[in-house]
Symmetry: C2
Subunit: 424 residues, 2 copies
């Protein structure tokens, strides 16, 4: 028999115990699983849905009927292999593109970007507003979202009432389910109820999320997620972020605050992070971490308003030209990135790691030395490492992810009775 634990905090219960309180959901309602599968597949026949979900064809028929009545999916004709125009085409299910239009917005240190997409994720319009890199108060941030919304609506020839929801991405610690931002490098205040403030200002339901989750959602809805079940997206820009897809769904942790790879500690009492702690991965790898050593390496004085981008471009040029100090900055960043990525491999054992973000055009981050270092740091099983893909996409991808966030919310709202998207 297991011993009684020292502190009496738990005990091993065995056999058929008494009734316990209902467990939180093990699986999602079938109609939602059906919707996700249809969305991921593009087009899929009912019989294949039933097979893949392990339920009866009758259950699938009921679920698809509900989804069609809700206007979310529709029947489409597909040619069967070998049909070649003869015979009746088979009927498959697909998402109804004009069921909803949503806005995705990404706010960053450098610019604000927005897209409008339809329910199938097709781009209708986009817009970008450059900005000076500084921290905003909540009101300035809401002003920026409103200006952006008006501009992208004008481009699309749509009014706000044509839109179903807004997905809003900000860097930092965000709990998407409560809509709170606990800390963000673009906001002066901590613990801000951003979702409700933006919903009130824009007159549309606004869902917020961490920007790394946005890129992950973009990959899940429109990219790698259509073929893979378990993958990591690591973003390297002004900070280091991560999103993780488990079994075709983003995993956010129990309270929605997980996947903060950039703030995992890679050195006790190490370099100072902008989050206020020491030894965080991003304090060795992110833009600002390189920039603060770059001023030393290049013997620049840190002028007011000096752009980090220009500083890093110069650092990169010097490194390529053979400047030893500049090279050592990139080399150290690459080694710590290898620590971070090997820790992701050792913990998650992913099918694929996607490195994403504008900074990925600096090839030092995925140089051969970095990849070799990862091999030295990932557990030695004799199996090959998971592939690492570089997706050097810009802010429009992040905005696409914000749109995917809004699409998720719209479909969850329509699929889960009792959940309502709050709007004024």
């Amino acid at each position: 028999m297991p011993q009684v634990p020292k502190d009496g905090s738990a005990e091993v219960t065995k056999g058929c115990g008494p009734l316990i309180p209902p467990l939180s959901e093990i699986t999602r309602p079938l109609r939602q699983q059906v919707f996700d599968r249809v969305r991921a597949a593009g087009q899929i026949p009912r019989v294949q849905l039933a097979k893949e979900l392990g339920v009866s064809p009758a259950s699938v028929t009921t679920a698809t009927q509900e989804l069609m009545e809700a206007g979310l999916i529709e029947e489409v004709s597909v040619l069967r292999e070998g049909d070649q125009g003869r015979g009746r085409p088979a009927v498959a299910l697909g998402v109804r593109p004009d069921a909803h239009r949503v806005v995705g917005m990404k706010l960053s240190d450098r610019e604000h970007t927005a897209v409008i997409v339809d329910f199938a994720g097709r781009l209708i319009a986009d817009d970008t507003i450059p900005r000076r890199p500084d921290v905003m108060d909540l009101n300035s941030l809401l002003d920026a979202t409103e200006t952006l919304l008006d501009r992208v609506c004008a481009k699309a020839g749509l009014s706000r009432s044509d839109l179903s929801a807004v997905g809003l991405g900000v860097p930092g610690f965000v709990d998407s389910s409560s809509g709170r931002v606990f800390w963000s490098p673009v906001l002066t205040a901590r613990d801000v109820a951003l979702s409700s403030a933006a919903t009130q200002r824009l007159g549309l339901p606004v869902i917020v999320d961490n920007d790394a989750n946005l890129v992950t959602l973009a990959e899940l809805w429109f990219g790698a997620g259509r073929r893979l079940s378990d993958f990591a997206v690591v973003t390297i820009e002004h900070g280091v972020g991560m999103g993780y897809v488990i079994n075709h769904r983003i995993y956010r942790g129990f309270t929605g605050l997980g996947m903060e790879l950039g703030h995992t500690k890679v050195q006790l009492d190490g370099a100072l992070c902008r989050c206020g702690q020491r030894g965080c991965l991003e304090a060795y790898v992110a833009d600002y971490a390189l920039a603060r050593e770059a001023t030393t390496a290049l013997n620049w004085t840190n002028k007011e308003g000096q752009s980090i981008s220009i500083l890093l471009e110069s650092l990169y040029d010097h490194a390529k030209a053979g400047n030893t100090a500049a090279r050592s900055i990139f080399r150290r960043a690459g080694r710590y990135l290898a620590v971070g990525l090997s820790n992701v491999i050792n913990i998650f054992d992913p099918e694929l790691i996607i490195l994403s973000g504008e900074r990925m055009r600096y090839d030092y981050l995925y140089a051969n030395e970095t990849l070799a270092e990862i091999k030295n740091l990932a557990i030695a099983t004799g199996k090959p490492l998971p592939p690492i893909e570089i997706h050097a996409w810009g802010d429009l991808l992040w905005a696409h992810g914000a749109a995917a966030l809004a699409l998720s919310a719209v479909s969850e709202d329509r699929l889960l009775p009792g959940r309502e998207l709050a709007a004024q």
Copy 2:
């Protein structure tokens, strides 16, 4: 539009694309979900199952019918609240305890342990064989499992033919699905097909797993998992291991080799780990890491056959008596443990962390300083940290986990057509 990635490795596809190959399973077959829910609940009425799983009562009736015909569950009578002996009792579903008997075995540096349990997890017999801490070749390891099996069968008054499966836990890098051990501190060889070798030797289906997953399975089947959906189990003994439960299921990673917390790197070019790499968490926290500094602190020569346990007991006594060097060993181990646990919090955002293993009786590992350090290293969201519970269980718990592994396999085998447990 998202830019085309530099390396052309992926592209953003949008809208309704062509049919893609079937996704790997998003959800498990309903009858398996039903079984898991019955097992976790102990007793549960059909109507509640349907509600929790979000499917029709008819679907649940079909699934439970299949499970009853397979002899895995049975109807049990429960009193409804307020019935007080009057009226008809309600009918609930429960696991059929005598459906199967399985063996769970844990092999460790120090001893081998086995239990026999019934399908409801109730203990029938247990046995333990102490051993000298050395590495074994495969044949010696198989000899040990066979001796252990015979002894625990004799105690239970059962023969091998009364048993359905054996769960076998070893430390190291184990892929449970293929039954391969890529590296283990108890085995001389690397990449050993342990499952098939043990299946052949014992004449029973043998399922192998990493020992940290066993403790997690024990918590999932018989402990914390009956009330929680997402939790971490971190084991500290001869090494540092982790198991993670997401949505009531153990998450093993894409190829079954994830959750190697003990081999995440907490220091570039750091202390040498017994896995052969440098800077692994366990190289700062595990028994052997403390032991190699203890010989310095206590000015002991490292005698042949000297027990690590005796060395660590002495170190602990010296630390309590005020020996500065001994204290600094524990203090450093505690700080690195704080790094490891805060990284688990920052990445997974768990509902609970369970610290498990025999070494947890040394309170330095969860001293106030360690907990305070975790607070300094976990992201500052203003929310409280997840609770950390200490379960100082012995090897019998691990063996119980091995039994849970065998029970999982037996039920998966009976529930998933096409999967067969291989036995001679």
